[in-house]
Amino acid sequence: MGQDGITIAIPNWNHEAFLPRSIQSGLEAVACCRDRGIEAEVLVIDDGSRDGSLGLLRTLEALYADRGLRVHRQEKNGGLAAARNAALLMARQRHIVLMDADNEIIPDNLHLFHQAIRETGAAGAYGNLLIRKAGHDVAWRICSNESIQAKIFDMNYVDAFAIFDRLQLLDVGGYSNALPAWEDWEMWLHLACSGRAIVFVPLAFGYYYELPNSMIRSHDGAETHLARCQRMFNQVGARADAPLNACLMRYFPGVGLL
């Protein structure tokens, strides 16, 4: 298995316009980690894009390979879960950040999330995501802003843009293809129901940009999948009374569990 550092994995499907921003923030995060003695890399998984992504990615890879950028091309589009699972297998480091191609990570804070996941032994650690509307430079909403609680069985409020222990993610079988558009939620519930620890770190992790025609907005049948997800994890509505290791788990480096 890989070293104890961080792979920042960016699955990409036709997000050419946003790749410079996400990759730049990822490479800056790599530099910040390396300055602190933490090995890190950026791994882009291109999921059969049909726009100009591939050409751009090959150029960026040639320019920035020494700064830790790698690109893997999947010829056939396999969907988000498959792209993430490919990243889990191809990553060189123990910890993996799963970052959408239109996300932006806050470079200076990544080492603190790395510290949090190592010190807690959690399967996943996440922090606040500031949500900006396209064209606006100030956030107006926030998500991934609370610890795991029973209410997560009714709705998802934790994005996949987080850091994970790659070993634990592989151990639970990786991402499921069964719930298109709800892969994030399915994974958090799967980890929680598997007794894994999931920790909320009250720091800002990155930026999430609201874009027209995003996957969750444009996906057909989302409501059906939502009901299916609830059927899988909380069919009789008893989860609120069942103990979960992840429940209300909060940790801040230098302060400890809260």
Partner: protein, 345 residues
Amino acid sequence: MGNDAPSFEKGGPHGRCRVLLVIPGKVNFFYNLYARWMAEGFQRLGAHVHLCELPDVPDGVYDLCIVSCVGEVLHAVGRDEGRRRLRDLRSASGVMMNLMAECAKTRWFRNVVDPGRELGIEDIVDVGFLPQDDVVAREGFRYHHVFDGLLVTQLQQGPAAGGPPSLADRPIPWAHIGMHTKGRVALTDRLIGHVAPNGFVYLSEVSPIKEKGSPHLNPDHMRRVLRRTAYYVWCAHHDHFFMESLRFKTAWATGCVPIKVVDEQSALPADLAFASFVLREGQVTDVLNSMDFVAARQALLDEYQRRPRFEAGLARLMDAYGLDRRDLPGLAVDRQEDTQAPRAA
């Protein structure tokens, strides 16, 4: 302040004023805190004080009963049982007051006062930096303001953080804690981008605040975080100007500097207490980047030293209701203006 408080046979054992403080207990810790501080203050003023949750109130009569937010106490006990118990307590109390520590212009104010009014509790004691009698009296309540200064013992013992002001052991540059609102998210974004990215951000959704099992931080969590923090920054979750005095007190106790952020349009009252810690949103990042932490911290300590003690407001309240109390030297109880302007150091 009203002038038609109910008459009642005053004085408990040894002629001491009997004060009962009823706390919510497991919900909304800040109302527990205020009641505990009041208990200490009333004791220093010579009262015989009992503090407990509503189901634990012992049989007896009281010269003064303060319910630390009727709405929260009912929430903790259950509405029907709570109402029954409070009605019983009302008939056993000379004066019964509803404690509030909220902005009177928000909907939260209704949660405080409406349940009290239903039970015939028409006296309100408001703890804070700024009197809100204009709003509360308009609603027909008898109103009494207590300036939220430090207790004599708090000043004598000093902040729990102790030692001279220093940034050593404060690796968290700023902390922003509160309910999630659009304005708070925007402030957080500016702090991350223009001050330091690694601030403590805890903006949770609106839900009941419980001692355990809720997403909110409890007083112990707050202490642990803020003792590692330089600047405790916040803005209101509503559009009205209000000084959140508990946040100032928490900053004082934990060794950090409070920074209240207001929008550009807010009209600040003249002679505002702790005005140097109130910043316009347009200036907050520049000021924080150039602020001398040690000097700002010392200014906070100095201003608390100059402001009235918490006991002074309680003494004034007892006087207003004709309740016997002990004289405490140096409280300047008779000087109403002390709640507005600092005394000379």
